[in-house]
Subunit: 276 residues, 4 copies
């Protein structure tokens, strides 16, 4: 399994997100508190939107805690929208093309969880991917396959529906292969303007997912915390697990939900798989 | 493109094959004389048959000339049958799962060349792979796909026919996609007892391929060469380019041929694609 | 800190040592039970004596649990004497030249622990290394420096005295720099025939160290355990922490001791630093 | 040996420097035209000054032509002052700590060439380094040692004199060890405001070094070249070999010279070693 965070708001230095919090993602890479695995050392990745249409991605097979280039890069890069992910492989190879976030044009995608029985389902899922997209699949993970299925089902125009159909397809395929609970996921996707975060599992016991409460409330509670004062009103974080123990700072995303973050607007919707 | 060698005969230390010849494979990784590219620095791999049913493989994304572990390993490992490959990527990612040789059970496979138009053909080719084998595809190269097609068409029972049908399928698929010359290849395959080496290209201008002449002739010509005296009578090498300039040591494998090496027996057959 | 094992006895396949035990070194790389750190993911190394004078070493900056080449290599290599080490850096860079075991001619050396205040002491210690050996120092760790000091003080002819003098020099140097407890170590060294294992710390609270009891006793107690039956009478293991929970299989090496293993002979000596 | 470039001027995207020129540094990493080695595939590094006091460095052991992260990073980062270096090792390990540029506080340093007889001289040179700096030496190269000697002799206050004394020390040390031509170098150093470039060798046959002529002249000659129009008047490049074949764009730096670039001011001085 894995851990991830999705930030949007005023430009932040990447290292403020990745290294400085008490329970930062880099800390979690060695000692996750709420993850299915405590060690998430099978590579990592960061995606950030900058001056170009296409977001940049930096992905490495090293454990995040060891990567010196990540420290350098994240001290000099700032962004209004950052995806970061630390990986604990559920079996597929540790290689850059299996590191999250995955990218398609302006879109980023990352996943914590697993498609159970993926080896059995892989061929069926691969052939459900839009033929025009097929050759873009570079790695061998269930996570990237789920991304390409979502793209196939219209991620670019209606993200919640596309993910619902992708999940529906995986569940239907899983059932055909006798897999009881095919999907376990928290997923984040973004087009650079909006972030969609999904929490869902076939068995209804999904991996943890939290989002930050609004910054002004926190600021009032913690008048002395300088980090909070640097953030804009619309700053929002969605995370696998809280980055520290600021009480009231984090709210759990409910089971079977989709959280949509656009500017300072958050919308929580119910999420359920749809017929593909 | 790439360079490779396939050895069979009395046990040799791997470094005698990889490092010691004047134009060794490791030398070729920086300065190939006959390759389509002079630098073959996009990873490498070695496969060798030892005490186990399954051959071992050591594959790395570093240039072969830099890999200290390869020097260590190859000084201590000996084998009666060795495959070695240095890679120059034609576009797919530099990662271990894209390094040759590829393995399936007791079989090894390596390839120099390219399937032109592979991105366009990839989905069709993947669909033609035996569904029971599909999930074993770990990388993203044309070379591994060709291996899985050959496995699908019966590599384990009749290698020349299986490769002919695999090549036939790629050419047929290529034609459907408007690709003039889909296949460019020299390929080596082995089950641990026999080596099959193929030289073929759709355009009839295949990458170079050579095989060694028999050792006793060479020994008579070069009575003072100690390397030759350590080799058994049945020692045979098939190589992308000669490992040195011993005159009379190397014979070109003709265009559209399949060379079969079993013990000290060599058989040269014509090779042409077959209907899949 | 780190974890290590030193094996001597009848030839074993490396994977029998590294992967198969219940609490194998590779398991410990993610979840050490007794180490100063639970995760030992900052590279690893294996050294093994084979047909050559010089032992082979395979060292990698990847976490041991991820390294596919280690699985391949260790399934095909057997040895009568194996050193293996998983690293948790105490600050120096994660690079092959900082991975243990270190080698000098026929000798191997590995270390768990730390020289406290090493940055302050480094120049003085480096200056004390035999000038003829100085340029052989390739990495930047305290562990390698300790090895070169031991070499300087006669490791090749009298290992216990040489290590005592090396430790004595570090403590003396540390005191000059105001460091309270300069040395924390368990160390293993071998010349290919004998293994010396040291457990010592300036503060008298050394990292854990165990050695196996004799195999015939264990075999009598566990008549059904196949692993034990494959081992020769003289098989011995020295380990940072037990590889499993076979009661009676492991004995703690006492504080301030040197254990000498030669064939099936074990000798336990008191160890204390000596004037350099 | 190696190849490098040093840019100063209006902010440029790093990929405009590294990837887009016809004979870009990344092209040179596979096919250098004027280098002592054609392949410079033993790692690379980029240093760039951004919003922080300290410049960022991104260094990797992969060949520059393969590093996907370099493409990502260099498309999103811009800087007024960039150092970039591709490495061909002259023997020391391929590891990040041996990749250039090296950094000390606000300073960057990179080197093409070799200190001949470095293994013999290494201890003497190391002990000439300021004891307060000694522990900062992280790698094992002659290039980093030369940097620390220059720092020792006052690089921060008078760069040309400090480098002259460092070179003087190496030559004196080399003579003591019977080395005929100890120093072969082109070096670039910067404090973020000024760039110093040195071309010198003990034998008077130094590696190639060029600097760009002023942009306005070029712009007049090549009115249609868009790259030139994006650059400010004060844009300056110093390079191991020209990045393309724009006639009149490049001037050779003479033997035994120091070129000083500050804003649009260039000063060429004679350089000769000084007594340390």
């Amino acid at each position: 399994m894995c851990r991830w965070l999705a930030y949007s708001g005023s430009p932040v230095r990447l290292d403020d997100l990745l290294f400085k919090p008490k329970n930062s993602l880099v800390v979690q890479s060695q000692h996750s508190k709420m993850g299915a695995t405590t060690v998430n050392g099978d590579g990592f990745g960061v995606g950030w939107y900058g001056a170009l249409e296409t977001p940049g991605i930096y992905r490495s097979t090293e454990p995040a805690w060891n990567d010196r280039n990540l420290r350098e890069l994240s001290a000099l890069a700032s962004s209004r929208r950052v995806f970061a992910h630390i990986r604990a492989s559920t079996g597929s190879a540790v290689q850059q093309t299996n590191c999250h976030p995955f990218r398609h044009g302006r879109w980023l995608w990352m996943h914590n969880g697993v498609l159970s029985g993926f080896p059995e389902m892989k061929r069926d899922l691969a052939f459900a991917v839009d033929p025009a997209l097929f050759h873009e699949i570079e790695g061998s993970t269930d996570s990237e396959m789920l991304f390409f299925l979502a793209l196939t089902f219209g991620l670019l125009t209606d993200a919640p529906t596309a993910v619902a159909r992708a999940v529906g397809l995986v569940e239907e395929t899983g059932r055909r292969h006798g897999i009881e609970h095919p999907v376990q996921m928290t997923v984040a996707a973004s087009d650079g303007d909006t972030t969609w975060a999904f929490r869902y599992s076939s068995e209804g016991r999904s991996r943890s997912l939290f989002h930050s409460t609004d910054v002004s409330t926190l600021r009032a509670q913690y008048p002395d915390n300088p980090v909070l004062h640097d953030l804009s009103e619309d700053a929002r974080l969605v995370v696998s697990e809280p980055l520290g123990d600021l009480h009231g700072a984090w709210r759990e995303v409910p089971e079977s939900s989709c959280l949509i973050v656009r500017g300072d607007q958050e919308e929580m919707r119910a999420f359920s798989p749809a017929a593909p």
